[in-house]
């Protein structure tokens, strides 16, 4: 199962990342399901990244400090699925 974390304290940037991520998930429909969490605690966020917003897939940071669009997120999700299978 894919673990996806959106990192951000709640301002419009991390909300956009979350929206794009949901879009990407909707288009991709990953097998085995997924778990999407929003991390807002600054301490936990800082364990992954320095500059919000951030996106973490299967505990790997894929994006930091900017807002990726849905197609980018889809390709990262697809990569993560592939690596998980191997």
């Amino acid at each position: 199962m894919l673990s996806i974390k959106v990192l951000g304290p709640g301002c419009s940037n991390c909300e956009k990342v979350e929206a794009h991520t949901k879009q990407a998930l909707g288009m991709l429909q990953p097998e085995g399901g997924y778990e999407l969490t929003k991390v807002t605690d600054p301490l936990t966020i800082s364990e992954y990244i320095l500059k919000t917003p951030g996106l973490v897939i299967n505990e790997a940071v894929v994006c930091e400090g900017r807002i990726p669009d849905a197609s980018e997120i889809m390709s990262w999700l697809a990569n993560a699925l592939e690596t998980a299978e191997n």
Partner: protein, 442 residues
């Protein structure tokens, strides 16, 4: 009918307070300030600063870099805490990290610009200079106080390479950054070269008879009224053009950019009271030149998506901060009408250490959203608070909100956080006191 008249008077006080602020004065400073904030957030990568904050960096570099970092990287209060936690946990010295934590909210570009326009440039300058000096001071003090722990931490810290990451920041980025700051300064500095009229232009239109008189009743000049209209116009246009700018530009995007440039130009000239003679000031000429240069350089050196990110970050800050600010100004206007001057003047009317401490304590216990502390400070100033305690309040308020103290506690641990809070309190009180003394001497 007493309570009704009272409430109406109150609302009117809030309303005129609002108009006062929205007029030429504040637009001239807040508009470029938001644009600069968005620019720094979008265009300046954190690696440009964090490379100087590592444990191997010499103190002469890491402390100033932390101070600069506080200014450049920490525009949004939501970014300061994760950044602080991140750099400290990954090996930055405690001193540099603390300096960053302190300077960030204190030297926030929006707050500085607004403080300058609403209260005075002496204030804004004092805020910058004293925040940096004391930020570095507090950082060094804490690094010294906890030197044994820090030495142990440095020995244990794995070299994780975070501080070795560098990025090449193109010269155009720094150039436009400096130009934008120039726009802010040229737009707001009260200096003869800028405020003096170079030549006059008589507008080829006739003002409708009663218009000037009605505006005066509302304490507005025609220039101020036009600017407020422009501001009201920008809001929906900016929404249409910028809300989805990351997905692509549309014609409203261009319209909003032009309107923003227009507000700067409209606010710059000097309109002779009660007539339609417009004085072209040095400010106006300066702004035209700067805006043209910025437009050309940005169009040539930046890619479409970079400009989109810049616009998005600017818009995001406006959405986040401006509505609350309007409410804050309105409330401050009302507060000014209700709060008894006696109280303010007894507690903080003179520059004593005690009065400064009260200013700091007020800042700690009263929570105001970003930027709202400035109109509140203005209100106190008008009610008779001395400028010393006022500065103490303005320094302490963004630093010591209950929320940031709690989170800092989780990051640093309770002992260090307690020391930090005490140091900030002492230094803010001192800073205000010194500022008050300096004012009476100059």
């Amino acid at each position: 009918m007493q309570p009704v008249t009272f409430v109406l008077d109150l609302l009117w006080a809030g309303w005129t307070g609002l108009l006062d602020y929205l007029a030429a004065h504040v637009l001239l400073c807040l508009v470029p300030a938001f644009v600069i904030a968005g620019y720094m957030s979008a265009m300046i990568p954190k690696e440009a600063i964090t490379r100087y904050l590592g444990p191997k960096a010499s103190r002469w570099i890491s402390y100033p870099a932390a101070a600069v970092g506080g200014f450049v990287l920490a525009v949004c209060s939501c970014t300061i805490l994760p950044l602080f936690a991140g750099i400290w946990k990954r090996g930055a010295g405690l001193g540099a990290a603390i300096t960053f934590l302190f300077v960030g909210p204190a030297v926030n570009i929006l707050a500085i610009a607004y403080t300058g326009a609403a209260i005075g440039f002496d204030f804004a300058l004092a805020r910058i200079v004293l925040s940096i000096i004391f930020g570095i001071g507090i950082g060094m003090l804490m690094a010294w106080l906890f030197r044994a722990e820090e030495a142990r931490r440095a020995a244990e810290m794995q070299d994780n390479g975070m501080f070795d990451q560098t990025t090449a920041v193109p010269r155009a980025v720094w150039a436009v950054f400096l130009l934008l700051i120039a726009v802010l300064i040229v737009g707001t500095l009260q200096v003869d070269l800028l405020t003096g009229t170079w030549f006059d232009v008589r507008l080829p239109v006739e003002a409708p008879g009663g218009l000037l008189a009605t505006l005066e009743d509302l304490s507005l000049t025609p220039q101020g009224a036009l600017l407020i209209l422009l501001l009201l116009l920008i809001a929906p246009v900016a929404y249409l053009g910028l809300e989805h700018v990351l997905e692509g530009f549309n014609r409203w995007t261009y319209v909003s950019m032009s309107l923003v440039a227009l507000t700067l130009l409209l606010a710059a000239p000097q309109v002779t009271q009660g007539s339609l003679v417009v004085g072209i000031t040095g400010r106006f000429v300066g702004e035209v030149i700067l805006l043209v240069v910025i437009g050309t350089v940005a169009a040539r050196s930046f890619e479409r998506h970079q400009i989109a990110e810049w616009l998005w970050e600017t818009w995001r800050f406006v959405k986040q901060i401006f509505p609350l600010l309007i409410v804050g100004v309105f409330l401050a206007g009302m507060g000014k009408a209700i709060l008894p001057e006696q109280w303010v003047q007894t507690l903080a009317g003179r520059n004593t250490l005690w009065a400064n401490l009260i200013g700091v304590l007020f800042g700690v216990f009263m929570y105001f959203p970003t930027l709202v502390e400035v109109p509140i400070a203005r209100m106190f100033l008008d009610l008779g608070m001395h400028r010393g305690p006022l500065l103490a309040y303005l320094l302490a308020d963004p630093e010591l909100s209950l929320q940031s103290i709690l989170v800092t506690g989780k990051i640093l641990g309770r002992r260090k956080t307690a020391v930090y809070v005490v140091l900030v309190t002492i230094f803010s009180t001192l800073a205000g006191y010194i500022f008050g003394l300096a004012l009476s001497v100059i």
